[in-house]
Amino acid sequence: MENWLIGLEAILSPLPLLMLVVGIFGGIVIGALPGLTAVMGVAVLLPFTFAMDPLPGMMLMVGIYTSAIYAGSIPAILMRVPGTPSSAAAVLDGYPMAKAGKAGPALSISLYSSFFGSLLGGIGLAVFAPLLATIALKVGQAEYFMIALFALTIIASISEGSLVKGLLSGLFGLLLATVGTDPLVGTARLTFGIPELRSGLDFIPILIGLFGVAEAMHQFERRFGKARDGAKTASPARFTLGSRIRKRMWPGVAMGGPIGFLIGVLPGTGGEVGSFVSYNETRRVSRDKSQFGHGDPRGLAAAETGHNSAVPGTLAPTLTLGIPGNSVAAVMIGVLTVHGLRPGPGLFEGDPALTYGIMVGFLLVPFGLLLVGLAGIRAWGQILRIPPVILWPAILVLCTVGAYSIRSNLFDVVVMVIFGVVGYLMDKVNVPTTPLVIGLIVGPIAEQGFRRATILAEGSFSWVFQPVPLIILLACIVSIAVSVIRERRHGRDQERTDNLSPQDRVDERAQ
């Protein structure tokens, strides 16, 4: 109980609160602009936190993260273009509602769902994280290795592109994490004679490159085109929720809250999965499914609630185990590591002001979001008018500054640009970049687990067969198997439809 008071006291001071508000505003801009993702926003703005204490820095990130996830639904509803990739599920029922002239209620539902989602998620985090932290103390080296592996298989299996590509990406991340000096023995590894590599690859420039620079490159390539013009911006007419619509919202909220949070807690998964699974499950248990996909408020509510409750969920494994719940959480780890802090049970014990402060922050941010959202709903349409010609050069400058200011090292800028190209090429061949990031972050955890477990087992690998590691290993295998089966089935369906003659296709549809 007293930890909560310590956390509350730490938060209720000017700088953390200010950063929270700044983050909320910044996040809404980032979320509402298609092309800017939450990950990118957090990565590019991460260096702003270097000059401040970890708690205000984290509050900035929490504000950005939460409100960007909410704001991504705004263009999704108005223009059928998700502002951030994970807002895709909001399009399903949000856009039909807007087309039917109900853009105002749709935006309201999205705002309220986001409010409830992030609040429910914040409560979940507050309950769950301290429990997880105490369990985390009992997590041994072998378990850490297995959990890291598990996180990678999960993220690889749900990412865009095939499982193999996801695994390649994750393994590449693990490999990159080994560049530098061996943690236990101190010998140089994979430095290929380049002195700057002796201290290893800092993951922040890589992050900024993969998400910031790469996206900028795509934008320049496409000449900033897309659904910007053409799709009419539906003007939001009414902003109060009719009570009829409000009643219909609740099933979506009730399902989305817990589902989204639990999915967020799973290492490797986050908002996108949370929102789609919440949507699907809500649809499944509804008696009248006809309106789903055509403007059912429950669908929008479920998607947005699930989306937002996953956000605090992703911080649960991140703060307690140091294993990021998704790539945004991974970036947030950077706020801590820059100050020499390591997330994990030690942090919970040693710095309750920080950890409990963060959790209090997650409970406060929904209210801030609601206020800002209600006040500004009319204004959000204007954000979409920032000319990309002005925006993207500025983003590149910010990326460069950010990469440099981590270690005052120009080499990091080179790393950023190189990984910008790498990220760009990976996107081209449909290799997901998130596993790479996760691999990069859990790499050291995985390796230490691997080495230390072997040392403790006196040189043998028998630790793999201990009960808990073995169970986790089986979970890895199961998730890979499920993914392979799903891919096979999808591939077979795809080939079947490709091989049908046009008449067959008509017949099929008629059935």
Binding site: P47, A51, S162, V164, K165, L167, L168, L171, L174, L175, D182, L184, V185, T187, R189, L190, F192, V213, A216, M217, F220, E221, R222, R223, P388, V389, I390, W392, P393, L396, V397, L398, T400, V401, Y404, S405, L410, V413, V414, V421, Y424, K428, V429, N430, V431, A446, E447, F450, R451, T454, I455, A457, E458, G459, G491, E495, D498, N499, S501, D504
Partner: protein
Amino acid sequence: MSGPTNTQPTRASVGRSELILAAVSLGVSMMAIIGVLLTETPSAGSDPGPASYPLFVAGLMLLCSVLLLLGRGKPKPLTWGDMKRVVLVVASLFLYFALMSLIGFVLASIVFTLAALLLAGERRLLVLVLYSIGLSFAVYAVFSIFLGLPLPMGPVEVLL
């Protein structure tokens, strides 16, 4: 019910992008394996050594690369937009990095922003000049003065 009327093979061949990807990842894993085997590995009792884990990871990468070659499924077609622009953007970024060490952050940023704006299609002289200078100074002000983070020094910074 009519059977399939076209004669597409039921097993999709591996796309070209997959081949390139497989080649690259094979190359990377081989490079890693060789690189790791070349590092000195002082034997330290029950510690499997600094080479063990990278070998494990690189080995798995190798496996995945091979799996990629054996893969099935429809490859997504590679689409290319304005590649000249992309290459120029990357070149500008490298130039930015080089200039920063020579003439300091502000001047380098002005040059880079100018280049980026031109690449983005901006042609209005007023915007080009004002925005480049304005953005560079603004970012410098926020990062260096307000946040106190060090940025590469050059003639302008010394004056400020």
